[in-house]
Symmetry: C2
């Protein structure tokens, strides 16, 4: 195994005091970079890029070369799991993912299966290639969607403002809902274990739609499956959980066998610290700050850094960087974090 | 002026102890009722319904007759304000509002004007007809969008997951953003004063997209305009503010000259009480509960009622009722609230 030259991310995730705060960005490998757009336009679409290991590895490494971030995150999609389970999707330009077939009854469960991740060899191949080409420069982050978020897509079939179909199932057919959640969870555990085996140095679990549940239902319905995942992966690599918008569940998330809790830009840092049980926090600059002038980006970034203070902290935005943001604005954010020293 | 036979809503809003908790639902006049759908299908579209006072009054009163709620809310749309200011919109079936023209530069401000609400005579006419036909059975709620939410639509042109254009303007061109906010605010004050003059008994201000801002920016950028509105209306009728998702701003909202704070279903009731400065709270059952069995609706509703306890409380869902919900489920919720007595 290659020794990492820059392991700031991993040490910070483990709660160690480091010489400076590590920084990376969600969606750093993507449309913000002209180099990414060049690769993307040479292919038929987003899914071809995800499924072509050489190109996925290439765009994964771009932000390390171009932006000098402290971590790479494998270029992929959380929806590879429902696809591996038997529900294929299309990525519709400007609209997002669309599943032609969804789960709405017990009978529908026979259309899908628990994936042992053999269908996801292309992701593993991309991870192997990336690790080789990174050659220890920075850690590689692997990831998956949290069971509840994947559940939302498999029931709803696409993005939604309310995910009312998914939430309806949870209240109206809890048994069916739990059966589907378990199938997703089993598939996700196999998938994440595989990512670690081929070289992922840290895993992040994205619960992008956590905010549609209230904290009690999130705790009783969604978290037990998240716990199965963190328990199963415990002791392998550091784990980050990011449940966007579920800010009143931070205290519950902090009880999981995870190392880091991701924060969106809505939650006051002080509140999150109080709920963190001392775990590392990741985030949480308002992405829209990167639309402002360089001077203002520096100012807002420093304010954020000061708010985290000496709490173990991985700097990031509170959400993925927006596609129309300028690489120079992103660089200003990154450099401000790197130069910042706590008093 | 007609004396109200049922003024539970108003007394509770003023913090008085009442014989039972009043209850109504956001979007109660709408697609959940077959009677509404019959009216709607006889017209060319949503906007024709909004703009035809007789029909708007008719659907406003339907839920009072059919569901026996403790308040009517005038059937209208928050986007009548941008339209009165000069930006017309279409309501695209299944997609939501679409503005062909948006505000993105100083020059664009010349396309719009501050409305003195003369363009909104059709809403006033609908309110007058409703008040007359209600004949004092229950109070009538008037409403408007909060300046920030209207700003989001005028800049973005449609709904959006991130409202990144609107947020970009706030960071990149704060002067332009503030100028637009002031124009919206002035128009909204005139509009709401007019609603009170023609008979609205309570006003609710909806900040539907408050959650895209973090609490500091919400406080420094959005709240001063909300404050102008509540200050201008102070002493007329009780005012409710509902800033969906801005749960870390409840303490700031409670400082406004408002009577009631609306809550979504994500915020724990205990947390909201602690931030409320004793103001009346409205909400906050998870709307998806209405997809469950009658027994479970009763159970969840009682749990919610117990959580509010003796704090002044107007029962509602934490968001508008979803169009595919059954009137019987809604009735079960309403009746459970009406029969509930605090120990």
């Amino acid at each position: 195994m290659t020794t990492l030259k820059n392991d700031l991310l991993l040490r910070t995730a483990r709660g160690e005091k480091t010489e400076r705060t590590p920084v990376w960005l969600m969606r750093q490998a993507g449309r913000i970079l002209p180099e990414y757009r060049a690769v993307r336009s040479s292919l038929s679409g987003f899914k071809e890029l995800v499924e072509t290991p050489e190109r996925a590895a290439e765009v994964t490494i771009q932000p390390v070369d171009i932006l000098d971030v402290d971590a790479a995150i494998i270029f992929s999609d959380i929806l590879v799991i429902p696809e591996a389970m038997g529900l294929t999707y299309e990525m519709v330009e400007k609209k997002g993912p669309l599943f032609r077939s969804t789960i709405s009854s017990k009978a529908d469960l026979s259309k899908i299966r628990v994936s042992d991740s053999s269908e996801l060899a292309y992701v593993y191949e991309a991870i192997k290639l990336t690790v080789k080409e990174l050659d220890g420069r920075v850690p590689l982050i692997g990831f998956a969607g949290a069971p509840f978020t994947i559940f939302c897509y498999m029931v709803e079939g696409s993005g939604s403002k309310t995910f009312s179909k998914a939430r309806a199932m949870l209240y109206a057919e809890p048994e069916l809902a739990n059966e589907l959640m378990q199938m997703i969870t089993d598939s996700t555990i196999a998938y994440l274990k595989g990512q670690v085996e081929v070289g992922a140095n840290l895993l992040q679990i994205f619960d992008s739609w956590a905010s549609v549940l209230n904290p009690e239902i999130y705790k009783s319905f969604a978290l037990p499956y998240m716990k199965q995942i963190t328990d199963a992966l415990m002791g392998s690599v550091p784990i980050t959980v990011f449940a966007k918008g579920a800010n009143f569940s931070i205290g519950d998330l902090a009880q999981l066998e995870c190392n880091t809790i991701g924060l969106d830009w809505n939650v006051p840092v002080e509140f999150a610290k109080g709920q963190s049980h001392g775990k590392t926090l990741q985030g949480n600059l308002d992405p829209a700050v990167l639309y402002s002038s360089g001077k203002d980006i520096v100012k807002h970034t420093k304010t954020m850094m000061a708010a985290f203070g000496n709490h173990p902290h991985i700097a990031n935005l509170g959400h993925g960087v927006y596609p129309d943001m300028k690489p120079d604005a992103v660089r200003t954010f990154i450099n401000t974090v790197k130069e910042y020293r706590h008093e």
